[in-house]
Symmetry: C2
Subunit: 343 residues, 2 copies
């Protein structure tokens, strides 16, 4: 009897600084056979996200790291190949935590069916998935933008940032993006409809940001940290809200950067300006998932929230693509097309 072969990517070693391709190892594996109560999933799309850098490290964080020799964690859109699990049939498309592999067994845990009639199924990993939900909950529940306020978001062309700015616009706020390079900035303004976008690589970034925010900043949706945070911080208005979602500028740092902004300056400003800085991860807002799907699905359908995908083909391209993502080389939601659907 022939055993079909699939592929998987394991964490080979913990990166020091920027991950190297050799920190991840691709290997063949037998395609597993589902037992009772299980189904076999075939990965169509693998999502690459900045949080994955944290899972490669054993520094204390909100989630346990991937063990050395274990399959890298990741959300996928997968097709049911065979099912002994009630409610799932071959051909169904599901969101699954399958990880970086071509096939996976599932007992349905953390899995939900995707309706392909709403939008392309890959959006379940982007604007209608975790990144979109992160933008929705962080902006609306923590940022609480009001009409006429100024919302600034970093990594503005990315999966989370692009949704943040567009939702801010829907709420009547002014949206100012910060992104890497003129092409991304043009896209953020011309395609996504932000009011302005600042290139964080410009040497006079702080001055440009100030000019783009003549009334100061009421909400800063923080994705990156580092120099961008330092440019934003002095512009925050009284009672400004700062949802802290990511710190991608420091994810590869083996030592935290000192920067020019002192902790005492931050706490002094928190006091005198009555700022709110609040960290969150998307699962803290699970109760809002129904609201999110209802609102953002409608906005996507109406063309009020647009998205862009950056796709590489083939699981073997995933390590290089993750390295690029952490450098800001992607342009839009980073996805690996692992296979085409069979049906």
């Amino acid at each position: 009897m022939n055993v079909s072969l699939g592929k998987r990517i394991l964490l080979a070693s913990r990166p020091v600084g920027e991950p190297k391709e050799s920190d991840l190892r691709i290997e063949d594996m037998p395609v597993p056979v589902p037992g009772p109560g299980e189904m076999l999933l075939r990965t169509l799309w693998l999502s690459l996200d900045p949080y994955m850098r944290g899972r490669m490290s054993d520094a204390p964080s909100y989630a346990t790291p991937v063990a050395i020799g274990q399959v890298m964690e990741g959300r996928t859109v997968s097709e049911v190949v065979a099912s002994h699990l009630q409610g799932y049939a071959p051909g169904d498309i599901v969101l699954s935590p399958s990880g970086w592999q071509t096939h996976a067994l599932s007992q349905g845990r953390l899995t939900r069916k995707i309706d392909p009639s709403i939008a392309p199924v890959s959006t379940a990993l982007g604007v209608l998935g975790m990144p979109g939900m992160t933008a929705y909950a962080g902006l609306l529940d923590i940022g609480q933008p009001k009409a006429g306020e100024t919302v600034v978001v970093s990594a503005a062309s990315g999966a989370v940032g692009s949704a943040v700015g567009q939702i801010a616009k829907i709420r009547g706020a002014r949206a100012v993006g910060i992104a890497g390079g003129p092409a991304k900035c043009r896209y953020v303004v011309d395609e996504l409809g932000f009011d302005a976008c600042i290139d964080h690589r410009a040497p006079d970034m702080a001055a440009r940001l100030k000019a783009a925010c003549p009334d100061g900043i009421d909400v800063y949706f923080e994705n990156v940290g580092g120099a961008v945070f330092e440019a934003v911080f002095p512009l925050l208005n009284n009672f400004a809200r700062v949802p802290v979602c990511g710190q991608i500028a420091t994810y590869n740092a083996s030592e935290m950067p000192a920067g020019r902004l002192l902790t005492s300056q931050v706490t002094r400003a928190i006091l005198t300006k009555r700022l709110t800085l609040r960290g969150f991860i998307v699962t803290d807002f699970a109760a809002r998932h129904g609201d999110f799907l209802r609102d953002v699905s409608a906005w996507v359908r109406e063309g009020r929230v647009r998205y862009r995908e950056d796709v590489v083909d083939g699981l073997e391209k995933a390590p290089r693509a993750l390295i690029g993502l952490l450098r800001g080389e992607n342009f839009g939601k980073m996805l690996v097309r692992v296979a085409a659907p069979e049906r």
Copy 2:
């Protein structure tokens, strides 16, 4: 005709670093005569508070500074001497923003009558006044302590801190204070009923604090900043709340101290631990004043919230007393007894 003389204290120069007595100047003044719609107030008690250091400086803050040559700002408990203002009669005791002077005219702005039957009238400047309200609103509305959680408060023997810990206890939380020196720490535990109190002057302060908080810290009520903040920060639990009320450790600093805690470490922890840091000043919570007076008056009457006053006699002692307050030399709510009531 004889003109009666009073005294007032003016801001003579903006302090650099710690204020000097010569930054304030006492002078005689004619006691003013109330016109139509005015009343003449005689100051009984002047409150000294850390925020006054900010008013002596022209650095940007939430309030305009006192101008050079202007009477120093301050809340007082005063007695009505003569009144052409409806609703106020000689002998009434009022809370007033009279400033550092023996007499003031008032048109009733920011003034309210005090009922001397509730508690000694000086408490309108302490536990039943702005410091008590600061503790109440900051702890309950931002800190939101739950039963069994650990609440840490710095400047724990002071007007705000002592109320914070006692209200935390009433809410069923564990209260740990941080104060300067063994006498204050004994008072905080033995008289106020905190579960523990750490002397911030102890060389092993951070280790002692950790030992006193075996389950970590859920709420840190921040009054001081600096090294105390650095000792607290690593002990914060997931979802901890940090009401930022004061930064007294840095009020005299002409340059902000660098400290050992990097801004990037702070923002990283805000993200991974989903912390909330929120600054406030008491007037942000004006809508809660009725709740505060009802609850804390009852708790004081029942002996569940106790307070201590540190009194100096005579307006001329105010400059030295403020300098001492900023050094942490006071023990309890700092008050200047300016005069005894006539009636």
